[in-house]
């Protein structure tokens, strides 16, 4: 009996997470010392040495630890069962990038006059040119629009007497529009490819036939607006 008792007393206190051949998985958060709170291994051996050398008592001590560990295992099992743990697998497709381009029109005479005629007399003409450049990322369709005419005096109006001719002189001169200045509304220009440059000539003429005394010292201001739409 004493021999058996000593053998049992010499059994190592269970300190690892191994129980019944199964290791407790660390991901469940179980520590590696079991059972906790029963003292160190040395203290346990000392306790056993001073305890009565009976198999029943020694086995009772081990049984307590077994019960404690089983309790922990049951708690772990319960936690696992209620944690909703599942298999999960994910894949990703990163860096889906989208970038907007830019349509940019460069007007060589932006915010200033294309032509200005001072003391224009009947039968005279005045010309001015401007260059449009599509500096955007796309082809663009550009339009010249009459953004407003201001006549002084309002009547008779000089804009109703002057004629306007718009030409594309990038290559061979091509007349795009001609008529009385006051009737100009808008003109669709040729489609620009990205980076393309085109030059336009504007000619204003004071026809002899339109000259009336009331237009002496008359003035007319016309604002042209260039609008581009990406194509």
């Amino acid at each position: 009996m004493r021999l058996v008792g000593r053998l049992l007393a010499a059994l190592p206190v269970v300190e690892s997470g191994w129980w019944f051949g199964h290791r407790l998985s660390p991901r469940y958060g179980v520590g590696t010392r079991c059972p906790a709170g029963l003292g160190s291994r040395r203290a346990e051996i000392r306790r056993r040495r001073h305890a009565p050398r009976t198999v029943a008592m020694l086995r009772g001590g081990r049984g307590l630890r077994v019960v404690a560990c089983l309790s922990v295992l049951l708690v772990v099992a319960g936690t696992t069962a209620t944690s909703g743990a599942k298999y999960i697998r994910g894949t990703r497709n990163p860096s889906n990038t989208f970038a907007a381009g830019s349509l940019r029109l460069i007007n060589s005479r932006d915010a200033t006059f294309v032509l200005s005629t001072g003391a224009l007399r009947p039968g005279q003409s005045s010309t001015g040119t401007l260059t449009l450049t599509d500096q955007g990322d796309f082809a663009g369709a550009f339009t010249i629009t009459n953004a407003g005419i201001s006549d002084t005096p309002v009547s008779p109006s000089l804009s109703a007497a002057l004629t306007l001719m718009i030409e594309d002189i990038t290559g061979t001169a091509q007349t795009l529009w001609t008529g009385t200045m006051s009737t100009f509304s808008s003109l669709a220009l040729a489609q620009f490819s990205a980076g393309q440059v085109r030059t336009y000539r504007f000619t204003v003429t004071f026809p002899q036939a339109s000259a009336v005394p009331g237009l002496q010292a008359a003035a007319s201001v016309m604002t042209l607006r260039f609008v581009g739409v990406a194509k």
Binding site: N93, F98, G101
Partner: protein, 185 residues
């Protein structure tokens, strides 16, 4: 009787004790009621954990990209998701890592782009690219293959009111987004 036992010598007493033990053992066997027995076994009960897995045909790569977009432009791309596991999986699509780089007019491109995701003939999402959330895709059986077609559209907001408002607000802006596929058993 007791006197007789007492006068027996040690060897005789031991023989008598042995004989008594044999008799007791024989009696125990005789009263055990042993009859015919039979047994059977079911060996090799094997348990194997299932494997939850899927293949993304463009894993860790973009499904679609687009540059120099303008209103009414679209970009398309597709990705194939295959359940190569041996158990069914419940799939979902979500987005993450959304970033914006505004252009000179300050508009955030993700605020205007739309994305449509179609599985065969079924549209699983159609809406703003910045509001995908988590889209349930259903449960795929092992070996099931689903190809998702993505279309990103820059909608036409009409003629801008000025050079910096309307669609012009998004000129030269860019964005990036990640599409995430999650399979759960």
């Amino acid at each position: 009787m007791y006197k007789r036992l007492a006068v027996m010598k040690g060897k005789q007493r031991a023989s008598l004790l042995l004989a008594a033990l044999v008799l007791i053992a024989a009696a125990a066997v005789g009263s055990s009621g042993a009859v015919f027995t039979a047994h059977s076994a079911n060996p090799a009960n094997v348990f194997t954990a299932g494997n939850l897995s899927h293949v993304n045909s463009k894993a860790n790569a973009a499904i679609l990209t687009a540059s120099k977009m303008k209103p009414l432009d679209t970009a398309t791309g597709s990705v194939t998701i295959t359940n190569d596991g041996d158990i069914p999986g419940t799939f979902s699509l979500s987005t993450s890592n959304l970033t914006n780089t505004p252009g000179g007019n300050g508009g955030l491109l993700s605020a205007v782009l739309l994305v449509k995701v179609v599985d065969g003939t079924t549209t699983v999402y159609d809406g703003p690219i910045n509001a995908v959330g988590t889209v349930p895709l259903g449960t795929f059986a092992p070996a099931a293959v689903h190809t998702y077609a993505f279309t990103v559209t820059f909608p036409d907001g009409g003629t801008p009111g000025s050079d910096t408002t309307g669609d012009n607000a998004y000129k030269s802006s860019s964005m990036a987004i990640e599409f995430d596929w999650t399979e759960v058993q």
